[in-house]
């Protein structure tokens, strides 16, 4: 991350190398270019792709994933991972549905409870990981299962139906302000806020520092365990927001809702250019990654290709993205070494 900011490759690689290097350095630009090409190709095959209703659907789902992915991106930046986020989304979506069904709380209060519960679940992850210094993968695999078990208890074998919710509740997913879907606005605001925090604040720099070199960060006086805790707590809260939106989008919520979603979220993060070895990447990249995956999903739909391909594509995307990262960073390191000579 720090290295990629140095433009000092005077005697560096040739034109091709500089272009691929540039693309590698700005994953955001690469993704935007890829999406434009993909959208053009798909539109030729299926013109309805560009219709407002179709794009609205793509972006609504992308918005949910983008918000969850911006939390996951922060976690990955600190060289950790959160496997439990799909259960947080499922639990919050279900809980908000149950509260609204009971009619005990007004809608905004139910949302706040949902986001608060997400924050709490994230704090549990963060507390166990940083207090006992256990690898995040173990803890979050455990809580992935525990949180899902709580949804099953909450559900007691019954789902929340759209009919149980206040009238017009699900319309929020398709409402627009000045022609822009509300979900997209929410995602843009949240991703920008998280991005600004990482970019401009002391805490943000600490997140990158902990991920790129924990020992150096400790020497600088950064309390890495506290940063880790905060990052997991934030990821939980963002998962909570995504859970509330998931509930609005689908209306009918099952105990198994959002199962398997973590693969899509991690795929968005790595395809968005957040390095799995920590310390680099942006939440904007992760959000664009979410949009990219949503586009692929929708392209399969409008081109009437089998939906069964989707899971395999997510897997391939993860593998290709991390391999590309490794190749580019290796080439970049070599290039930097050449330049120093």
């Amino acid at each position: 991350m720090a290295a990629s900011a140095t433009p000092g490759t005077r005697s560096g690689p040739g034109v091709v190398g500089r272009i691929t290097g540039g693309l590698g350095r700005s994953r955001e630009l690469t993704l935007v270019a890829l999406m434009v090409v993909m959208a053009a190709v798909v539109t030729v095959g299926a013109p309805q792709f560009l219709s407002a209703s179709n794009l609205g659907q793509v972006t609504a789902m992308a918005a949910i994933i983008a918000i969850a992915a911006s939390g996951e991106a922060m976690v990955v930046m600190t060289k950790n991972i959160d496997m439990s986020v799909e259960s947080v989304i499922g639990l919050v979506a279900f809980l908000v549905g149950v509260i609204l069904r009971s009619g005990d709380l007004p809608v905004p209060a139910a949302w706040l409870v949902g986001i608060g519960v997400g924050l709490l679940l994230g704090m549990i992850n963060g507390a166990v990981i940083s207090a006992f210094r256990i690898p995040a993968i173990v803890v979050t695999l455990g809580t992935l299962s525990i949180f899902r078990g709580i949804v099953f208890i909450l559900a007691g074998g019954k789902e929340v139906n759209l009919g149980d919710l206040p009238p017009g509740y699900a319309d929020l997913a398709t409402d627009t302000i000045l022609g822009i879907p509300v979900f997209v606005l929410v995602a843009v605001v949240i991703v920008s806020a998280v991005g600004l925090m990482l970019w401009k604040t002391r805490f943000g720099r600490q997140v990158y520092a902990v991920g790129s070199n924990a020992e150096a960060a400790a020497i600088l006086g950064i309390r890495s365990r506290l940063v880790t805790f905060a990052v997991f707590a934030l990821a939980g809260a963002l998962g909570g927001i995504a859970g509330v939106m998931w509930g609005i989008y689908f209306g009918t919520i099952y105990a198994t809702s959002a199962s398997g979603l973590v693969l899509q979220i991690v795929a968005a993060v790595v395809v968005g250019g957040v390095s799995i070895s920590g310390g680099s990447g942006t939440v904007v990249g992760a959000a664009l990654g979410a949009l990219f995956l949503a586009l692929i999903n929708n392209a399969l739909l409008v081109l009437q290709l089998p939906q069964e391909l989707l899971q395999a594509i997510y897997g391939a995307v993860i593998l290709v993205a991390v391999s590309a990262d490794a190749v580019l960073s290796r080439r970049h390191r070599l290039g930097a070494r050449e330049a120093r000579r």
Binding site: V128, I134, I146, F152, I276, A312, G315
Partner: protein, 359 residues
């Protein structure tokens, strides 16, 4: 196993003790598991008259055999400091390939070896990306977790293959000649003997532990680190395919979601068995004990009327606890050491263990 960790003779004994779990304390971990198992068995007998019947024994063992056999290669992979999250999807893919080949008219004795090869190739993909590509095992196997499941979806779609030859389903849940011993338990036992001997009795096993303690040191001492790690993934893939075959036989069905969620249980069994998530430590007997602890626990919970959907909470808690408890023991030992000697102990696993999930 203990032979591989001859500590430098100059280090003071106390420091050495604080740096690793000694064989004596590993034995204590296994004693703990035996006690836990006995307690669960007593609880089971109190709970229901059915518990101590041969039928119930056959049920409770055969219900965890897929997890049990996958835990054996996973043990070695975690000892080397890697992880394989993709095994549950290989279970699904293996069932899908086996069912599709059978429906296409291939006899099972021909199809089964093909499926095992598919598993080995999937493992090879994991291994090459990790060792030659230099990528973290966690992310690679997360990718193949999606990829293998996706391939199962593509091959099977929503189809369920549920017509199998009698001998095949008999292998899945039958027992040997009216005894309470399932065929699958015999398969597991054979694999346990092989893994036990290789891990604790051969140079290969010592090399696995050496890789887990320090990849650099192992490489400088001539251990073929990359190829050994790759081979472990290949074995893990092939064994996961075998587990997929067994699961298809036991349920007499191949569906695209066969095995979903199993990785969690496999990792839980391995860590409950005393294998260190940071690599370098663990034993096959510990993991075998953990398999039976889990099997009896699930059985007792079921007899107590806890539905399997809620049991996920128990498995998740067990996973986290089986890492917290040794970590706490280690931390208190370090603190006690510090108090006794009145100065800071050498940097040990306590600082090493911090946030290494992705490295």
């Amino acid at each position: 196993m203990s032979a591989s960790k001859a500590a430098p003779g100059t280090a003071p004994a106390a420091a050495r003790r604080s740096r690793r779990i000694s064989p004596a304390s590993l034995a204590r971990w296994e004693t703990l598991l035996v006690l836990l198992l006995v307690a669960l068995i007593i609880a089971g007998t109190r709970l229901s008259k059915v518990f101590l019947t041969g039928n119930n024994f056959a049920n409770l063992t055969s219900s965890v055999m897929e997890v049990a056999i996958m835990a054996l290669p996973m043990t070695l992979i975690i000892i080397t400091g890697d992880i394989d999250l993709s095994v549950e999807s290989m279970v699904g893919l293996a069932g899908a390939v086996l069912g599709t080949l059978m429906v296409a008219g291939l006899p099972l004795p021909v199809a089964i070896p093909i499926v095992l090869v598919v598993g080995a190739l999937g493992g090879l993909l994991n291994g090459l990306l990790v060792t030659r590509g230099g990528l973290p095992a966690l992310v690679v196997t997360l990718g193949t977790l999606a990829l293998f499941r996706g391939l199962a979806n593509v091959i099977l779609g929503p189809t369920v293959i549920s017509v199998w030859p009698d001998w095949f389903t008999e292998f899945g849940f039958g027992t040997i000649a009216k005894s309470p011993i399932p065929y699958t338990l015999v398969a597991f036992a054979i694999l346990v003997v092989v893994f036990w001997l290789v891990t604790h009795g051969t140079w290969l096993g010592r090399q696995v532990f050496a890789i887990g303690k320090s990849k650099a040191a192992a490489r400088y001492s001539g251990v073929p680190v990359a190829s050994l790690r790759t081979w472990l993934f290949v074995v893990s893939g092939a064994v996961a395919a075998l587990a997929g075959i067994i699961l298809a036989a036991r349920f007499s069905s191949a569906r695209n979601d066969n095995g979903t969620g199993m990785t969690l249980t496999v990792v839980t069994v391995v860590l409950l068995g005393g294998v260190d998530i940071n690599g370098g430590k663990g034993s096959i007997p510990g993991v075998v004990l953990a398999v039976f602890v889990l099997a009896v626990l699930q059985n007792v919970l079921r007899l107590a009327g806890v539905s399997s959907e809620y049991q996920g909470i128990g498995v998740g808690l067990l996973l986290i606890l089986s890492v917290i408890v040794p970590q706490l023991a280690r931390q208190t030992r370090v603190v006690a050491d510090r108090a006794r000697r009145g100065r800071r102990p050498p940097a040990g696993p306590v600082t090493q263990g911090e946030t290494t999930a992705l490295s």
